[in-house]
Amino acid sequence: MWWDREESFLSGTKRHPARLLYRLGTKRDATLHCLDVQIFLDTGPYDHLGGVVLALGMEHAGGAYRIPNVSLAGKCVYTNNPIGGAFRGFGVSQVTAAMEQMIDMAAEKLDMDPLEIRLKNAVRRGDKNSVGKTLVNSTGIRECLRTLGEHPLWKEREKWKTRAGLFKRRGVGVAALMHGSGYGPVVPDTANAKVELTREGKIRVYNGVVDMGQGNASTSLQIAGSILGQPTDWMELVLPDTDRTLPCGSASASRCTYTFGNALIGAAETLKKRILQRAADLLMTPSKDEFALIPGRVRHLPTGKEFPAAAIASFMDEAERISVHHFRAPVAPENFDAGPGLRLHGFPHTLFSYAAHLALVEVDQLTGEVTVCRYLAVSDCGTIINPQIYEQQIQGAIAQGLGFALSEDLASTQGRMAASDFAAYVIPTAADVPEMESVPVEIFEPTGPFGLKGIGEISINGPLPAIANALADACGVRIVDYPMTSERVLAALQGLEKGAPQ
């Protein structure tokens, strides 16, 4: 079956449109004190994970900050509008857009630097976050903010801003991000990895979590290859297939490599032990520790004697050559009294990635056009296993977030979407996306495979608030309807549209 583009527009699930009401209270010294949030998501005529998206939005509504007094209320509303559903960011993009602008507005009222107010209130490991969850895993938001603060794009921002041309205004904006990974406390976030020593002596990895281009299959080969000492030409990859691979859950929730990677480590370690044990048995040596796996072969280190992995395989039964390992991601043990269903919908999470984003923006006063000139993303997503794939996820999500911020609009009237093609639904081209810089803050996450955390979604949450804050910095206006089109920006510049931020 295939859909044409218009059918895809009509039927595909879209990021839930949100109405967000925020009130934030701080002490005089800029300590965040209280937060009151009401979230309304438009889920359209059917529920496609509406409750789950709302729950994740609520959990992230207060951002990566310590806020002792928080009131959260959320409603997911049925309408006759287009269907809302799972979309990269999963409710977090919407609330981060609001919260990170609230923080800037508070900073402005307190006459405080936007980076400083964030550093003052950002969570550390051991803190309770804004929903009261104790952060027991790696928590690198402060390191991200500090790294951003030391970057030339931040340090030289005032000089950069003064160089705006005629009719142009420049501004910079920061956003602090966090993004939970996995399914939350009730729905088991599991993966079942399978690794095989083939009769030919190769290592076959049954990658059960879908790789639709994000590259997790390559990372899986790296993980198994690292444990089993094999380069990729001694490895084979089996992509998800209900006949051959085992259930591994969805490619979603920033959980693919974390959950599957942990399962894969278990399977690969077991297979390694079996191969070396069988080698020790064959040579009648006392310990498997005298052996090493080298590409396509096994070497007995005391004697230097080698034999092909295929020879070992020929002594093993299929049940022995195939190793399977099940992993279930850890969940938050906290049991909040947070209303029925919220926990079932995935509230709260226990593992979070963090990031600090910086946008350098130029605004045209004659047309309202916003140009993002440079973009910096500093991310704490644990150890990096594959730097190229890591950057891909960041860069791609920023570009997508840029569209969310500036041009992509699924406005509908009487339930009918105005846009049904790529002429009217305006996604960024290569000419719209600035040069992006990605700086990793590599903090080892003890529960992650080789120390990693999820990177798939967090970066999409940054561009809208960072650009909005930069726009406010440049011209003193805040747009409260998104995307921030030239038309809306010019109206705000002219004071034609009295949209007081809430």
């Binding site: 305006v426 290569a430 089109t485 038309e487 010019l490």
Partner: protein, 283 residues
Amino acid sequence: MRRVYLPTTLDEVWSIMDREPNAVVYAGGTDLLVRLHRGLITVDGLICIERLAQIQGVKEEHDEIFIGAGTTHAELLENNVIREHLSVLVQALETLASPPIRHMGTIGGNIVNASPAGDTLPPLYVLGASLEIQSREKTRTVRIDQFISGPGQVLMTDKELLTGIRIPKPKGFGIHHFEKIGRRKSQACAIASMAALMSVSPDGMVEDIRPAWGSVGPTVVTCAEAENILRGTRLRPEILEKAASVVKKTVSPIDDIRAGADYRRVVAGNLLLRLIRYHSDGT
């Protein structure tokens, strides 16, 4: 199955038009084939004129430049005569759609399509382009502003073909200016655009100015009153503001999916303010 013809000479075109009075002509197909595929129009015959060498290419003829209607946007962009004399057109072509569309679409198609957002139209208006319209019987010449009568409407019969564009070489206009506002930086349909030819004396006087606006009316909009305000005065912000306020009253934009009428009106005027950048620059 539709009948499709691929003539290589104008004589063939006239014969096909006689045989197939309802056939529709296309060159690049970048607009017509979209509408056809979406079922917005139905036709039973198509005449693709991409192989008509007679109506392709650029010729320099004394004080005039002749552009074959079947010349693609890309060919114009790479043509030295066009680059040397018609910078305002070049600037517009650079913003037109995307490279592959520019390799297919033709200037004649952009004219006959007569979209209010047609990117080449404001430059062709300020350049005073006239069009050669041929039929089997005769060739007639008509000014572009008298050819385009409304959105998607041109004064041409089914037996006629736009074959060429004649553009007098602009004399004395040191400044060629074009700006387009779209929903993104590239491959965008115009929300508003402005083309302008201007000459400014070394002491900053506007000797002559010809602006034209796209996407802010049913056809390209010109504004004699604004020109009169500017002509013969020193180029300074207040005078541009004054002219811009007249422009805002003159244009008649509509609301559509890309922008509202109010925005288009304001931006049409504001685009004129950009000309202040030439205030001390007579070249």
